[in-house]
């Protein structure tokens, strides 16, 4: 391998990891909801879109940097998510129906309503990142003059990635160390046992949906500096979250993190070495391969190793 090939490889790997870190954050929210509620939240991408609009307007009107508005938008999204669960999903859960997947269909409807409301309020205009540092980057050759290869590290991508990691670690602590976190995990593992142990399952559902919405809301803020927004953007991110959820193992947070990273690196590598037009194909190949060869996702691998020890 000559210097140029190495440069291309490393730059691709960097891009893939950064992208994967952000994908993971989108995926975790869906996975959490999946684990506890046993439904796929197909309005996930639309929730992210709502959060992005919030972050965008916070910046335009009050000059609050998207990275700071994470702390405003995520809590708002938490309550928004709880409200959706409380007033829309819960009533449907209680209704006996022909279709057992009523709630999933409901989330599709919620997604459509959100997207159309956004079109109504904000028009269908594309809005670009308002921040100034959008295309700033650090360059290897600025620090190491005679470097044989040139690598660049985008400022907003790196910051977004770092915050995403911090949020993920915080979530992990929350789920493993706090009572509420443990109750959520208990509900996800065995609903009836959790009920018998005195876990307030109803409340856990509320908290989980709120948490899922808050996580994807945070992801939305992190995407503002590097991407753009328009009302119909939700669908593609719902899809990505869905693939990650399947790949990671339904309901597993660690699985979702690894799944997100795998997807990010895989997409970047496909783009460089196969062709960027193949990225969507690659995404579904992974999806199908995971379903066939690894039905439990990455989580099942982790679990079997732990049992082996």
């Amino acid at each position: 391998m000559d210097a140029v090939a190495i440069e291309v490889f490393l730059q691709t790997l960097i891009s893939g990891l950064l992208l994967g870190g952000l994908y993971a954050l989108i995926g975790i929210g869906m996975t959490l909801i999946m684990g506890v509620m046993k439904i796929i939240n197909l309005a996930h991408g639309e929730l992210m879109m709502v959060a992005m609009y919030m972050a965008y307007w916070l910046f335009v009107l009050f000059h609050i940097d998207p990275y700071i508005s994470v702390f405003i938008v995520a809590p708002v999204m938490f309550f928004f998510g709880m409200a959706i669960q409380r007033f829309l999903i819960n009533p449907v859960l209680r209704v006996e129906s022909i279709l057992p997947e009523n709630q999933v269909i409901l989330t599709v409807g919620i997604g459509m309503v959100l997207a159309n409301l956004a079109t109504l309020f904000f028009t269908s205009d594309y809005r670009s990142t308002p921040v100034k540092y959008a295309s700033d980057a650090w360059y290897l050759s600025d620090y190491w003059r005679d470097s044989p290869i040139e690598l660049s590290l985008s400022v907003p991508w790196t910051v977004s990635f770092t915050i995403s990691v911090v949020i993920t670690v915080a979530l992990w602590f929350f789920l493993t160390k706090t009572d509420t976190g443990k109750s959520i995990r208990a509900t996800a593992q065995d609903l009836e046992a959790a009920m018998l142990m005195g876990v307030n399952v109803e409340r856990m559902r509320l908290v989980t949906f709120g948490l899922g919405a808050a996580l994807v809301g945070a992801a939305g803020c992190l995407f503002i500096p590097i991407y753009y927004l328009y009302p119909a953007l939700g669908g593609r991110f719902t899809l990505i979250a869905f693939v990650i959820t399947i790949l990671g193992g339904l309901g597993s947070t660690v699985g979702a993190i690894i799944g997100g990273l795998i997807l990010g690196v895989f997409e970047s590598m496909t783009a460089t070495y196969v062709g960027m037009g193949w990225a969507p194909v690659g995404r579904f190949l992974i999806f199908i391969a995971a379903l066939i060869f690894l039905p439990g996702g990455v989580a099942s691998l982790l679990r079997s190793r732990r049992l082996g020890k």
Binding site: V4, A5, E7, V8, Q11, T12, I14, S15, G16, L18, L19, I105, V108, N116, T119, T123, S124, D125, Y126, S128, T129, A134, S135, D136, A137, Y139, E150, S152, S154, F223, I226, Y227, Y228, Y230, A232, L233, R236, E267, S268, M269, A271, T272, G275, M276, G277, A279, P280
Partner: protein, 397 residues
């Protein structure tokens, strides 16, 4: 599931609309399919507003042959199957003798097939894929140049000023993008450039850096991109980020030629050249008036799509006024003989170079200079002298 819902919506809407009649008394109603929701809604909106401006002007001047004109817009969501359904309704239910509109190539193609089958003339307004007018259709007319001709001006700029030896082509994986890239491959052969890389991508992608680092490793003289606006801005931002120093960054109309490109890519857009069909400052009669009128109402200048839509109604008006009767056959004959200059440029439908009923016209080259699109080519229309060679990223600012 999604499709089922759509179908139900269509059925519901069409049941509502059956009761309206196309021509009643002294008004004439045209139904125009446009993407008013979905990811292409932005362009649908520009076109709708432009049609409305033309409509007001025409009605204020007495309508078409004394009849007041009315326009009805139907949302195709940018999906060919929905456009097709709308077209069938316009022809079969509303009995409209001529049909025009729609934005994307794939939707225009769907309508073209219906129109040809039912022998109703269809005026393509913005769909640019080459093969729409290459299928020996007798009833399909196109007023905008096909995508291979979007770049005729850019081609001569490259040949006479830049004289590049290698080119890398990045395009979105849609009909429009693929055809645009193929056109550039042919152009490259014509002016002796080697295509070192040709890659497609999925529109809406988040990260272009993998593909761009591959482009960087090939060191092309020119990087040519066919993209819609947000992809275009993201591409240029990430090119800046990776400091890819090509001699020239060129865009194939669409996303690169509209003001939003500069707003979104900010300083990364400086010195990017783009082929375009139209600019608000161009010297065609009525172009500036239309652009100013649009700006005063909607706050910003329209893109060339707007000018195409605005002029389309005038082309229809012209044809209807010359037609012997308002039967589809007579309107087709009248369209065939069209020879007018609109705000969008001269319109004349010709059969040549494998095309039928295609309008051929000169295209312009714009360059972003000091954060503004300036016409730089052909020199006789230039508003400013082009900047070439362009500075390297490292030396900027």
């Amino acid at each position: 599931m999604k499709r089922l819902v759509l179908l139900m919506v269509i059925v519901f809407l069409s049941s509502l609309l059956i009761t309206t009649v196309a021509t009643a008394g002294d008004t004439v109603t045209f139904t125009i399919p446009l993407p008013l929701t979905g990811s292409k809604a932005k362009f649908g909106e520009i076109e709708k507003r432009s049609y409305e401006i033309a409509l007001e002007e025409i009605n204020a001047a007495g309508g078409i042959k004394g009849k007041k004109v009315k326009l009805v817009f139907e949302d195709s969501q940018g999906k060919p199957e929905i456009s097709r359904a709308i077209a069938e309704k316009i022809i079969d239910v509303k009995k409209q003798p001529v049909i025009f509109g729609e934005y994307s190539s794939s939707c225009s193609k769907a309508i073209a097939a219906v129109a040809e089958e039912r022998k109703v003339p269809y005026l393509v307004v913005t769909g640019a894929a080459d093969n729409i007018t290459q299928q020996n259709y007798r009833y399909v007319f196109r007023m905008n140049p096909s995508v291979s001709y979007y770049t005729s001006g850019l081609r001569s700029f490259l040949k006479e000023v830049v004289k590049p030896r290698t080119i890398a082509i990045i395009h979105e994986s849609t009909d429009f993008g693929t055809k645009g890239a193929e056109g550039m491959v042919k152009d490259a052969k014509r002016i002796g450039m080697k295509v070192v890389l040709k890659e497609k991508y999925e529109s809406g992608a988040v990260d272009f850096k993998p593909i761009l680092s591959k482009v960087k490793s090939k060191r092309p003289d020119v990087i040519y991109m066919v993209s819609y606006v947000m992809d275009a801005a993201l591409l240029m931002r990430q090119i800046k980020e990776l400091r890819i120093d090509a001699k020239l960054f060129a865009g194939g109309a669409a996303g690169f030629a509209i003001p939003e490109f500069i707003e979104n890519a900010k300083d990364a857009s400086e010195y990017v050249v783009t082929a375009t069909l139209w600019s608000p400052m161009v010297a065609y009669p009525g172009a500036k008036d239309f652009a100013e009128k649009y700006k005063s109402r909607h706050g910003k200048y329209p893109s060339y799509h707007g000018a195409e839509a605005y002029s389309a109604l005038y082309v229809i008006k012209d044809a209807l006024e010359r037609a012997k009767s308002w039967s589809s056959e007579d309107i087709r004959k009248a369209l065939k003989e069209t020879n007018i200059v609109t705000a969008f440029g001269p319109i004349k439908f010709e059969d040549r170079e494998g095309y039928q009923n295609q309008n051929f016209m000169d295209t312009l080259v714009l360059q972003v200079i000091d954060g503004k699109h300036e016409t730089i080519w052909p020199l006789k229309y230039a508003t400013r002298k082009y900047v070439y060679p362009i500075p390297r990223w490292r030396d900027r600012r």
